[in-house]
Amino acid sequence: MPDLLRLCTAGHVDDGKSTLIGRLLYDTRSVPDDQLAAVRRASERHADGIDLSLLTDGLRAEREQGITIDVAYRYFSTARRTFILADTPGHEQYTRNMATAASTADVLLLLADARHGVRDQTRHHARIARRMGVSAFVLAVNKMDLVGFDEAPFRQIAASFAELLPDAQRIAIPVSARLGDNVATPSTRMPWFTGATLLEVMESIHVETAAATAPFRMAVQLVVRPAPDFRGYAGQITSGVVRPGDRVTVWPAGREARVARIVTADGDRAEAQAPMSVTLTLFEDLDIGRGDVLASTPMHSDPRFAATLVWMDEQPAVPGRPYLLKAGTGRVLAEIDRSLALNEVADAGVTVARRVAYDSYADSRHTGSFILIDPATQFTVAAGMVNHPIQGDASATSRMAVAERLTRVAREAHTDTQAVEAVCRVLEEVL
């Protein structure tokens, strides 16, 4: 069982999410006295004592508007576990932030108001989290004090939660974040509920961590060459184990090599595993650079693949326009075959200008994921998850529409000056 649990939250602005997080921090004694005193002072406008939500909303606009805009990371621990909690905005406008938080989470903590049930927005976020590889879901049915601590509404909400995520690990708990019932201490007002408190669930929930048992993968970040007789490949092992003598393949070239040494500042190692950052040397003298992946089992490198994209930019996706795709440490020009609007999650075909190594997202969250960058604004515009490679005649399918257009306009020009002008016009148009 891991001693670190990464949680991410989902819930509507009015479901009391900030209050619940504040309650968790407060009841685990994770709030320093001076911060608590500051919140007490700021809570004077509130009739019912301390406003726990003020512990988490970090930006001034958030406190003024009473909403959470951006992901905030909270760090706290109990005797049993350390938690990194990504507190995400519930509003639809910020779905991209929710997807970002879910991308590294083990558990999604959902919130529902006992009077309203699981809202559409929260359902949407739960489905995104499921798509992003979250396997365990905890539903806190909040504001039980406002329904008289009655069992019936809780049962109803828990049943619809089960329908929402039929194939995932699910736990539902009735709570009152404001009063503390079933958050860190068992409620005496809901004797009909015999399950564990939210904190007990967080401390004990089991999540699969495949990183150490999966096949070895390490993307090369840097080639370290401090002296003529040393050539090391520095990177972070994203899955599996490596030992000196192991056979690895360098992708996307597909060349084989054997590991000579595992070099670290703390001495050579007889074994290294995910998520360690190491430097490997090989017996063979190969042309390996940043973006290459060292792997113990075959990887995909077809230049076309099917992916699920979460669009994160206000400017919609434009098919046929060049984007920069960053997968692991590799960066390549890419195109997608459909349009997407901000916060839209959809399947798309992706074509890259030259081969890069990747896995399917179902096999690896690390080597199966990528981001897209708009070269015009340099903004990160999409999070992508590879579904499967699309095989075919590489020369026919990998040709990118924009590259073809540029080639054609340049060829059709009569002079170099005309060619430059024509190419610039096309670039201005697509960017």
């Binding site: 004694r29 970040q221 060459r225 070269p375």
Partner: protein, 299 residues
């Protein structure tokens, strides 16, 4: 929390440092002499081993830092053989800028924020690596690991790039620069546990001993600058204390403590009920004041 958790934090931070070195044209590492900088420096040594640290260090010196800090800084730079750039806003100092003359906000603005932006422009540096952590302060909890600043060095919290799977987007538009925070996911306790595990030397100000201080509310002000005024009825006294966070001597209070070793500090933190930056006066000059300073270009 086991050593494994520390080692996975170490691995992620090394990953971030290597991404900066691989993708940024002219990075620099901010070195503020404190415990977080000391950890960052150790991580940089590890990240590029057996090669040297491929970027210089930059210290923005307000001239009001504790004297022990400066002595320690020069000793560290010499022993590691790294290039250390020290930048000071001499113009402002000549005009008599100090916290009691112009107020803490304006003093920080000129001696830290302005000086930092000038030093980055002088480099010129396209990426500044710093030791800030998300658990320090609530606006920092919203900070990215790779955080973009506009041409004026300013932070726009609403235009932050998403970082799914921790993916680093180091691309910059015209005039933009990056701030990179490899210690984002570390807590204060993680930092001290790592210092203990690695035997990293730190400035002796962190360790408790008797010091000559003014007792002012919860804060103990160590007297180093002649301009710190004694209020009516105040006098200096000897108190056993230590610094929990290092800044400028007039604006950073010590805490009462008997923790004179790293292990004693860890034990003290586990029992602590107040936050690390509580006695950094500049964080509290108004509501949301760290956010405001960050928007203006403060690290």
């Amino acid at each position: 929390m086991s050593l494994d958790h520390l080692r996975s934090l170490e691995a992620s931070s090394i990953h971030v440092l290597r991404e900066v070195a691989a993708e940024c044209a002219r990075p620099v590492m901010l070195y503020s002499i404190g415990k977080d900088s000391s950890v960052l420096l150790r991580l940089a040594q590890k990240a590029f081993y057996p090669g040297p640290i491929p970027f210089p260090l930059l210290h923005v010196d307000t001239s009001y830092k504790f004297r022990e800090m400066i002595a320690y800084r020069d000793q560290v730079a010499a022993s590691l053989g790294v290039r250390l750039i020290v930048h000071t806003n001499h113009d402002a100092l000549q005009q008599g800028v100090q916290p009691f003359a112009v107020g803490t906000q304006r003093c920080c603005g000129l001696l830290k924020t302005r000086a930092l932006l000038d030093a980055l422009a002088a480099g010129p540096f396209d990426a500044a690596i710093g030791g800030a952590r998300r658990d320090e302060e609530r606006s920092r909890a919203k900070e990215r690991v790779f955080s973009v600043r506009d041409r004026h060095g300013q932070w726009d919290p609403k235009r932050q790039r998403p970082e799914p799977w921790g993916a680093a987007n180091t691309r910059l538009g015209a005039g933009e620069s990056l701030r990179v925070f490899p210690l984002s996911d570390w807590t204060e306790l993680d930092v001290w546990r790592y210092i203990e595990a690695e035997g990293i030397p730190v400035v002796p100000l962190y360790f408790a001993r008797e010091r000559e201080v003014i007792v002012r509310g919860d804060a103990l002000i160590v007297i180093e600058q002649p301009f710190v005024p004694l209020r009516a009825g105040e006098r200096t006294q000897r108190v056993c204390c230590r610094m929990r966070s290092l800044g400028c001597s007039p604006c950073t209070g010590a805490i009462r403590s008997t923790a004179s070793s790293v292990s004693a500090i860890i034990a003290e933190l586990q029992a602590a009920r107040s936050s690390e930056r509580q006695l950094r006066l500049i964080d509290h000059d108004e509501d949301g004041s760290m956010e405001q300073k960050k928007r203006e270009g403060y690290f």
